[in-house]
Symmetry: D2
Subunit: 336 residues, 4 copies
């Protein structure tokens, strides 16, 4: 069986994970990688990858390949995806495509015209916990879903420099939860009401962002979702979901460091959730890349595409507007 | 030691529970009960209570007593409390005092003038689970509270006839959660945003109410609470809370029928939560009455008073207004 | 409906519990109690019981009654049961009937001859956790039971003076587990192998007893049970069971003080099991007495009888012999 | 940094796991593998390993390497370890070294003479759950350990052909638990009492083995351990441990497929434990090999050595003797 040929752009934290996962796959061959920083290229050398380049443009010329994985900084995503699309190469791109809806729409047009597959890295869809909930909901285990509850809290706030460019909490963090809210019940959002506060670090407020948020979403059928976010949970990464419906409820919990219980005269002690998203979602990253490869091999559509990215972005922009205007905002109010 | 003398009005479901709890208390003597229905008076006879009457007016004259417990229908509460206050008798009254804020304010004035204690039956404050969370929050176990999450779902919707007189979901059901939101972190609410839907039974909608709700509350310090309600959880009574703060999180869970786990090739099975509020809160009803008796004996203020009832009513009225006007409503917008 | 008339002998810790439970039952009337100590009789006076006596002999003459509850010291049980039987009164007796098998056999003959019901206070059979496991096993939820595991640990060792008269760990503590091993799967024991050690308090060893034990039981069909005991679990009362069978496994856990989970950067904390047997088995004591009353009212056999007491005593004596002789002992080796 | 050169013998189920783990390690180079079956060698070819041979003798000559991993059938272990030792190559060998104590002692002498490291594949020591319990016990979290409880049940019985050569349940399955009993509290066993039965499959009995067992172990200090085994748990692989001590208790539980809880009117459902040892111990296999490599690189002793294998074998032989002679057997009764 012929192998799927891959290139990869951006060897930061996530890029390394995707690269090592690809290298372990039987039907994949990584022919080229690209990173503007020498130390990242140095890292790539130990894996004996044929071509190691410093620019995306060069990457597209050093060899032929079926697909490229884009893990470079957010502000390069749109350009790189367009370039890849024009070169007829399938793309796996980390989210978001871009913070501007106008730019995202442009890119998606290019992608469509090029007839390539574009998969977006909404990794949580591939986590066994969320997947299980999605499947149980889909098979009717809870009846008609009435209410979705998503808890999503980070172990610590990112640097202010990141927040200044990320689009803020709703676009860099909650966007995963917006996607999850759509995915877990397979319904679209029509209205957003967002409340937020600066409770952790005043400098986040000075940068124009919030660090704690509660978002109420309304689906097309009038059912609801609630998301709560915090930039800093003292006990680590907190990622839970609950779907309540006409016939029952399903919950998924965090994954913990271990299952031990210590009983003493002081009480019972247990270990915390896995602290960091790289640990919690290690398997999810593997699974999403396997599904991308599988789509390419089988000629099937990718499980998360550019439109999913666009829709989550719209919800995020509606949340920002809701926070500013202190009122529920309709998704249809958000346009280019 | 002299016993505290009690009368009790209303021998329905809750009245019977309070009566039996009072009868078991060492320092209490129940001297008179009242119910307009013969079958309820018949029930009282087997406990050998000295006076059994059919009207509240008569009750106040058959004997002297220190306190009266009012468990009659909601629309009698205000009048009975006033009558008792004027007679100089302390009152334990089931919530709500009245659905009209104006009437509640009137009654509270009478109570104040009479210099009696008025305790309201917010039973959940006396549940060991909620109490534990309250205490841990109070002692700083989670640092400064940022977010409160309350799940409160009933095992089945009440009859439409009840809903028509109850004031609707926010005043007959969520009102417990509004009180809990205040109690658990000891902070006041300034803003309410409510979303609701009719997802369970269209006739609830026809009666002008909703059966599913999500309410976002904002405290004076800008922190938030989320309440989610359903009139019908297929798996029974669901009463959970979570408080997230700067140093951690504390959760309390439902109480379950038993702790068994059955492992078979089909999966793992466990028992459901206690199905009904009378089972879940059996101990809480006992504890709240013990605390009322204890306040009377020691001359201390009661743990939940008329003002607590008034404040929860205001939040409920704000929630109704928010739902109608599709916008966040300030508590200060709600006046007589 | 006529009430069942009760007398009660022995107003110690357990006697008070049984008395208060009986006083709350609708179809029961407590006509007489007996205790040799004045302070215990004083306690009885506040319940307005018609006859309060100081000897068992007197108790049997002050009034007529259907049944007597015997909660006096162990060394009085055999005599009191015989006296009651001869008076034609049904008996509920705390375990054990006697530490001597010969004496127990004698008493059971008298009981049989008198045609009365004798129920033994193996309270754990009436605990909702153990009952649930028993029922699931009975209805075949785990298939054919292969292995029973019982953990039974006390929160603290009793005084040496108690141990010196109690018959030792196997007869005062494990005897409950021997009964449970029979009850939970409805099978009889044929062989016992016991290991023990003095690990908690050397003075227990000096008194001729052990404080930690592991007992392997073999049922008639060759399947097995394991019991582990400790006189002192630092974290409180530990009472768990597990039944493993051809189709699965069922477990029951301790009952906890509350369900809270506190997450901080130090880990997750939870509350301990209910610390004392009176708390853990409060409902079980109520249920067992209700079932005794129900048997008397309906003329049905009691759920735990003298033979159950005799069989657990035999297993206990076999355990003692096994420990002494360091070998597995057949139950049939134990005779009068 | 120079890489540690490895060879590997035996490309069955476990061999493949070790090979793929070694291939992912930064400081390791796999220079040669060996398997007598062509299809296994075919599998090796896709990893571009320099030398692929069919005999162990050839393997030792095709290249020079620092260590060899032996995953070939049990009856080859002793010879291969001796050959490797004589060639001055460090060895990681799957357990057991041999079923004959005499042969094991011979091999250990050769190993000692050759001054190489020999690590035995007791993989469970490297599982995060058991490791955590071991560490907590070591740091005194439960005080002095009084009682160890190990549950170890397989999801299904192996073929009779395997059982006939494996040495039986105590030597092929319980031997892991014997090692765990030593490891978790760091104490040696002096006495074994074993009970067993054939409850799952009569043909296991006909092959001279048992399929269900309960083993009581006594440590040098008089404290105890209990192991329970079954060849077939309907609900999958069951691997739990509990250590009870003077200051508390610590438990480790199974690892589950996912954490979901589904609440419906039928009850609560959850997913089963990971079904197979390869899934449950996937990380443990990786960790044990990392620790072996780390020992070689740092010149430190390996964490599990030949003596550990010998001691577990002795306990296993004592268990067999105990079962046959129906009595507790001292470890010192077991000699070459």
């Amino acid at each position: 069986m012929t192998k799927v040929k891959f290139a990869l752009a951006g060897l930061g934290r996530i890029g390394k994970i995707h690269l090592e996962n690809l290298l372990q796959m039987e039907h994949v061959e990584v022919v080229a990688v690209m990173d503007p920083m020498e130390e990242c290229r140095e890292y790539a050398r130990k894996w004996n990858i044929p071509h190691i380049t410093g620019t995306f443009k060069e990457l597209l010329t050093v060899d032929t390949f079926d697909a490229v994985v884009i893990c470079s900084p957010t502000d390069t995503h749109a350009n790189y995806v367009e370039m890849a699309a024009k070169a007829g190469v399938h793309v796996f791109c980390e989210k978001p495509l871009d913070l501007s809806m106008k730019r995202v729409v442009e890119v998606l047009k290019v992608v469509e015209g090029a007839n390539i597959e574009l998969m977006l890295g909404f990794n949580r869809r591939f986590d066994k916990e969320f997947k299980k909930v999605h499947e149980l909901v889909k098979e009717g285990a809870v009846g008609l879903p009435h209410l979705v509850k998503i808890t999503s809290r980070d172990p610590g706030a990112p640097p202010i420099s990141y927040i200044e460019k990320s689009g803020g909490l709703f676009l860099d963090m909650t966007i995963h939860d917006f996607d999850m809210a759509r995915y877990v019940v397979g319904k679209e959002i029509v209205e957003v009401y967002a409340k937020g506060a600066v409770l952790i670090d005043p400098s986040i407020g000075e940068a124009g962002d919030i660090d704690t948020a509660v978002v109420t979403l309304t689906y097309t059928d009038g059912t609801m979702a609630i998301i709560d976010n915090s930039r800093e949970a003292a006990y680590g990464y907190d990622q839970r979901i609950e779907v309540f419906g006409s016939k029952g409820m399903v919950q998924a919990n965090n994954n913990f460091m271990d299952s031990h219980r210590l009983y003493t005269d002081k009480g019972i002690q247990a270990s915390l959730p896995l602290h960091f998203f790289l640990e919690r979602y290690a398997m999810a990253y593997k699974t999403e890349m396997l599904e991308f490869v599988s789509s390419l091999k089988n000629g099937t559509v990718v499980p998360v595409d550019g439109k999913d990215g666009l829709l989550s972005l719209k919800i995020g922009l509606a949340a920002i507007k809701s926070l500013q205007e202190k009122r529920p905002v309709q998704i249809e109010e958000i346009s280019i």
